[in-house]
């Protein structure tokens, strides 16, 4: 009898995923304790990509510190830059010209689509549909990066928004080109929609996985699509309008179950809403005009004070807390990153699911590790 009992005895196995693992979207490490195929415990380990962006910014002046924003949030650089420049403008009390505001919002929303496309590609690769959807998403994203390159000069690290406006004006056929690209992007979104949304295999993999209720989501400090997927209708562009978002019409998509499928659906719908915002902006945008605030000094010295600016990024609430002592360098720059809060809840989301779904849940969070570790 005793021998038989020993044969039935099972032990939990530790599975280490990462830091060098394609499913972790960067250098993130998960230590999973699995009972058979079920995840019993999960420990997220972060810090592999810490570069001290906040501290480095304190040694740089306000123009230089902008460059670190691109590198912190490397999938939605324009959004991060926008948050930073608005924070400094608030501190200085600068008025930004109308045209610059519109161009900023157009680029920000395009970047939101590009970031969500990246999510679609990476997420589907986690699902196991590598090749097809990854390539569809990247085809569209690459067009946007081409446009960004033609505007700002770089494919990823734009440094294009400046405190008080923009670095340069957009090229001549920007409006027509953007219109064409939004049309193409809509086609690309429709492709993704057709491939995944009603696909039974996809539904079977994603429905009821990684569920987070609305209360839990608020407790964990969720924001952005993760929060909206749980059914909380909260969008900073609507709740606390910055830039020109109060003039624009858009819907806030929400999910009802808070599972992986809802997160996918919310992001898919958000891309369509972003395209809608861009269309409105292109219609309303002034034809010509200045793009930099007129009385801009070469060296920026904001008056002493502090400001917290938060903006709706593709991943959630991106916040910049800035303290100035009147010098040309920020006294303190703190970045509030959405992915950090989402990762904290990873354990709660994953426990009780299969090991294969753990990768899926991590993918649905849409993490940017640079932003988590800063």
């Amino acid at each position: 009898m005793i021998i038989e009992e020993r044969e039935l005895e099972t032990i939990d196995v530790y599975v280490n995923v990462g830091p060098q693992h394609p499913a972790t979207h960067g250098v993130f490490r998960m230590v999973l304790r699995v009972d058979g195929e079920l995840v019993v415990d999960l420990e997220p380990v972060i810090g592999y990509l810490h570069r001290g962006a906040e501290k480095l910014s304190e040694n740089c002046d306000y123009r230089q510190a902008l460059a670190f924003q691109d590198r912190t949030e490397y999938l939605a650089q324009f959004n991060a830059e926008l948050c930073y420049v608005i924070a400094v403008e608030k501190l200085m009390g600068l008025e930004v010209p109308e045209r610059a505001e519109y161009i900023r919002v157009i680029l920000t929303e395009l970047n939101r689509i590009a970031s969500h496309l990246m999510f679609m590609g990476a997420f589907s690769a986690d699902l196991g549909v590598f090749g097809t959807l990854f390539m569809y998403a990247f085809r569209e994203r690459e067009r946007m990066l081409d446009l960004f390159e033609e505007i700002s000069g770089d494919r990823m690290m734009y440094s294009y928004f400046r405190v008080g406006g923009l670095a340069w004006d957009v090229p001549e056929n920007f409006v027509e080109r953007t219109r064409w690209m939004v049309k193409e992007a809509r086609q690309g979104i429709a492709d993704i929609d057709g491939l995944l949304t009603e696909n039974e295999v996809f539904l079977a993999r994603t429905r009821g996985i990684g569920t987070i209720t609305a209360e839990q989501a608020i407790d964990w400090g969720f924001s952005g699509p993760m929060l909206r997927a749980s059914g909380v209708r909260h969008d900073l562009r609507r709740a606390e309008p910055y830039s020109i978002y109060d003039r624009l019409e858009f819907d806030i998509p929400v999910g009802d179950r808070g599972d992986v499928y809802d997160r996918y659906m919310v992001r898919l719908e958000e891309m369509r809403q972003s395209a809608r915002i861009i269309d409105q902006c292109l219609d309303q945008m002034p034809e010509d005009g200045p793009i930099v605030a007129p009385d801009l000094k070469r060296v920026l010295r904001p008056p002493a004070g502090e400001v917290y600016m938060r903006a709706e990024n593709p991943r959630g609430e991106y916040g910049i807390y800035l303290v100035s002592k009147g010098a040309d360098k920020p006294y303190r720059l703190k970045i509030r990153s959405p992915s950090f809060c989402h990762l904290a809840a990873l354990r709660d989301m994953t426990i009780g699911h299969y090991l294969a779904d753990a990768v899926l849940i991590l993918g649905s969070v849409d993490i940017v590790l640079c932003e988590v570790d800063r």
């Binding site: 230089q64 081409d146 033609e150 000069g153 400046r162 340069w168 004006d169 057709g194 930099v292």
Partner: protein, 175 residues
Amino acid sequence: MLGLFKALGTTLSVIVRKPVTLQYPAVHKELPHRTRGFPVLLWDFEVLEPFCTGCQVCARYCPSECMSVTMKDNPLHADGKSKRRKIVDKFYLDYGRCMRCNICVEVCNFDAIVLNNSWSGHEVSRYDRRDLVNDLEALLAKSKEGSLTNPFREPLGMAHSGWSPKPRGEKAEAE
């Protein structure tokens, strides 16, 4: 089952579309005019000396501190050939540290440094990272051989210079 067939239909409809890819090492994409490659120094063909006076403003404003510059008295100025009283003596720029943020170009008072907007500004891989540290000769080489006809160098907040690259020879007019 319907969703599966819809997905298959989507893939079938994409098959007939034109490919968007380029065979990169064989075919180079045309780079936009504003492309930011790695920084290079410009050569003044009129006086046959670099535009750079070694004032170190770029080195001071560089966020990644990738440059070091020294200045010397200009021998050509003593002969009366050049208007520049001082000229760059040594210029070291580490491409391994540079993050192509364009700040050095914006702060330069003499329009001496630009970001190389051709493919030669991108394809700079080396086998040893110490080879990425460029001295004055290496930085001036591109401009000296005349391949840098069309650098992008707009002042902050100025009007754009058009979607397509400027025609050749306009650089000479601008300077």
